[in-house]
């Protein structure tokens, strides 16, 4: 744009360039984001088996009515998504921040710790699932062996018991999430001006006070990113549950909205309309969470 000779008069090459640079992403955005989103919304008012376009039948709000009143896994899924959000926000996220703060103080072997804690994030999801499956196996798993619960009769069924399996999966997810948050926060901490710490030390602030009153507020941009990451990770929670659940959709005790969507859309005899309605519900929840958050943030910025 700086190459334009005068505002409003662009050369032919410039116009072509601008058309391409703006047009292509716009087209991609429309085709890959907006069209599917709008099509999902439209399809959520229909029934469709996903094969012939002529088989799409309009049913109005029927899908939504069914989901809210007569779809047993729906409310458990909503509840589990909320638990997921609260758990991730209250345990692994603060823990990741805590680890980052400790590692930033240049203790010995800090690189080793960093690598060790960040490692799960580097591993492919399949490997993460594999590792936890080995840990949770009822007969030969590490956890039951350590607890002495592998014998006949005394099995603790970590992934099969509907009262336990959500927590088992949450631990596995936290294992990954902590390292992620830690590395993000560590990057933020590196950018904190050492003078700030010195000033705080001179004023007689202890380690905890320095962090809470000086460092934490100074890292607001990073905190915002971490909050967004945490909320997003919780709402889109899917992969690790899918892997640990055996790769075939929702299991009793581990229902999540994202899994219910795939249950209905992927597979034989798909219920595209029903699944789309579930997807729209998840979209609305996500938009509400992110919208609230953005409004809050920008309102403060404006002041």
């Amino acid at each position: 744009m700086s190459s334009a000779t005068s505002p409003g008069r662009l050369s032919r090459g410039d116009r072509l360039f601008l058309t391409l640079v703006i047009g292509l992403p716009l087209l991609a955005l429309l085709v890959f984001v907006w069209l599917p989103a709008l099509a999902s919304i439209a399809l959520s008012f229909t029934t469709w088996d996903g094969i012939d376009l002529s088989d799409i039948h309009w049913t109005g709000l029927e899908n939504y009515a069914q989901i809210f009143t007569n779809y047993p896994p729906f409310w458990p899924a909503v509840q589990h998504n909320v638990i997921w959000l609260l758990f991730t926000a209250l345990l692994p996220t603060p823990f990741g921040i805590f680890l980052a703060y400790q590692l930033d103080r240049k203790i010995r072997f800090t690189r080793v710790y960093q690598t060790a804690i960040f490692l799960p994030m580097v591993l492919s999801l399949a490997v993460v699932g594999f590792i936890w499956e080995i840990i949770y196996n009822p007969d030969t798993g590490l956890l039951n062996s350590v607890l002495g619960a592998a014998g006949a009769g005394g099995h603790i069924d970590w992934l099969g018991n509907p009262d336990l399996n959500l927590w088992a999966v949450l631990i596995a997810s936290a294992w990954r999430h902590t390292g992620y948050i830690m590395i993000l926060y560590l990057a933020g901490l590196k950018s904190v001006d050492p003078a700030l710490r010195e000033a705080a030390a001179l004023d007689g602030a202890g380690g905890r006070q320095t962090f809470l009153k000086v460092i934490f507020p100074a890292l607001k941009p990073v905190n915002v990113i971490i909050l967004v990451v945490t909320v997003m990770e919780s709402l889109r929670a899917f992969d690790i549950v899918y892997v640990l659940g055996g790769g075939t959709g929702s299991k009793p005790g581990m229902e999540l909205l994202s899994l219910l969507i795939t249950d209905n859309i992927v597979g034989e005899a798909g219920h595209i309309g029903y699944g789309s309605a579930l997807a729209v519900i998840l979209l609305l929840v996500s938009l509400a969470a992110i919208g609230t958050f953005l409004v809050q943030t920008f309102r403060k910025e404006d002041r």
């Binding site: 890959f32 896994p73 699932g129 196996n137 075939t248 597979g267 005899a269």
Partner: protein, 437 residues
């Protein structure tokens, strides 16, 4: 093997792609599918190559299919390009697979599941293949291979019965006797428990929850008969019917004798506990043989039919799912694919396959059975004596209904087996969503 079937995401990309598609671009994927297929099918394939989509990802079936395709290549000069996909993933992605660019020939199951795709136009009729192979099949097998329009869409390879498996030496050592009736069965289970065994193995964790349907089907077939079972499967009677309630009541008698921790274990691990003599019995299919690596143990495995519950029905029904092949709707090499199907439906392919994987029975009557082991011979007799042959719940019914409604319901119920009223009510409330037309 366990891990293999537990991590379809790891194993291949189509699974992941479907997942992503399902989550984000769900309707785009669906809308784009018909467009994509337009460029997929038709001519342009290599006339010397037939593509073959196989769900036989476990070691034994993979080796068996390799032997079959190798022999076909030697016979015909046509190369077979096999695309093997994990069993569970193959099933979950089948609809999109068939709408995309499927392989010319693909493995599939007989029954409602085959008819569904035939009805939707996602498979080609293979009547001319049947003109060649038809002589080798019984009327029952032919019936299983036809779509609702009367045309053939399916070439059977093998079937296998479900029954109650046990180790002969364990029964001998402990003086157990094969139970003939339900009361004997429960009494035997009770005795095994007292002897410190897990009476009935249980492994329905993760993607293996389908395996609980074997017990459900047999309880229903024995207590209420084949006709009621099929009505229930096809959504024609209410799941709150008192006959369905009775099935859960009977099941509840058996659940205290299930191996604990079944919800987190694969069927293979459960089968292993029978092989290791930690469990006494297993309600499972003949494919349990795939878990056996020691030939001496194979000799020691035996089975008895699921015991009689109501004398009006006796043991007249056998659950014996049939697996085989279908032709995709626009095969790239149609002539080659049909030649391949003719080969697959012939006796020789069956002999080659069973030679590697002795845990199934040839569907073609002309296949030699002299290499059968004792279990196969006994299985063939069991199936031969049956008045009714059921496929399996997820093949006799709408698979979506079974996998998203019935299975989660039954698995949850197995965690806390109560009188089942609430579970059956939940299932019933969903029935109309799947069986409307």
């Amino acid at each position: 093997m366990t891990q293999h079937s537990s991590f379809p995401l790891a194993a291949r990309s189509p699974g992941r792609r479907r997942v992503v598609g399902g989550l984000f671009g769900l309707s785009a994927a669906a809308l784009a599918a018909p467009v994509l297929t337009a460029c997929g099918g038709g001519p342009g394939g290599d006339p010397k190559t037939v593509t073959f989509g196989s769900n036989g990802a476990d070691a034994t079936p993979k080796k068996a299919y390799a032997a079959v395709t190798k022999a076909f290549t030697e016979d015909s000069g046509l190369t077979v390009k096999t695309n093997t996909v994990d069993h569970d993933t193959f099933q979950t992605s089948i609809t999109s697979y068939l709408q995309g660019t499927p392989d010319d020939v693909f493995t599939w199951f007989a029954g409602y599941r085959m008819q569904y795709f035939a009805k939707k136009g996602l498979a080609s009729p293979v009547d001319d293949v049947w003109d060649v192979i038809g002589g080798g099949f019984s009327e029952a097998a032919k019936q299983l291979s036809r779509g609702e329009d009367g045309k053939y869409y399916f070439v059977p390879l093998y079937n296998y019965p479900w029954a109650v498996f046990y180790r002969k030496s364990l029964f001998q050592d402990r003086g157990y006797e094969v139970p003939a009736t339900w009361d004997d069965f429960i009494a035997l289970a009770k005795r095994m428990k007292k002897d410190g065994l897990s009476p009935v193995t249980a492994g329905y964790g993760g993607g293996d929850s389908w395996s609980v349907l074997g017990a459900f089907d047999y309880l229903d077939l024995r207590a209420n008969g084949y006709d009621f079972h099929m009505q229930l499967m096809r959504g024609e009677v209410a799941w709150t019917d008192k006959r369905a309630v009775r099935v859960l009541d009977l099941w509840r008698e058996l659940t205290p004798y299930y191996q604990t921790g079944g919800g987190g274990r694969s069927w293979q691990d459960a089968a292993q506990s029978l092989i290791d003599k930690k469990s006494g019995m297993a309600v499972i299919g003949l494919f349990i043989g795939q878990q056996i690596t020691d030939e001496a143990i194979r000799e020691d495995i035996d089975f008895f039919p699921f015991p009689e519950i109501d004398s009006a029905h006796g043991l007249d029904a056998v659950e014996a799912p049939t697996d085989g092949f279908m032709l995709s709707r626009k095969p790239k090499n149609e002539d080659g694919a049909k030649k391949f199907l003719e080969f697959l439906g012939g006796a020789r392919a069956e002999e080659l396959y069973m030679g590697v994987d002795p845990s199934n029975l040839a569907a073609n009557d002309q296949a030699k059975t002299d290499s059968y082991n004792a279990l196969q011979t006994k299985s063939a007799e069991l199936i031969g004596s049956a008045k009714h042959i059921s496929q399996f719940a997820d093949r006799d019914s709408d698979p979506g209904f079974i996998s998203t409604v019935v299975l989660p319901g039954l698995v949850e119920w197995l965690g806390h087996p109560d009188d089942g009223t609430a579970t059956l009510k939940k299932i019933e409330s969903q029935r109309s969503r799947f069986f409307t037309s």
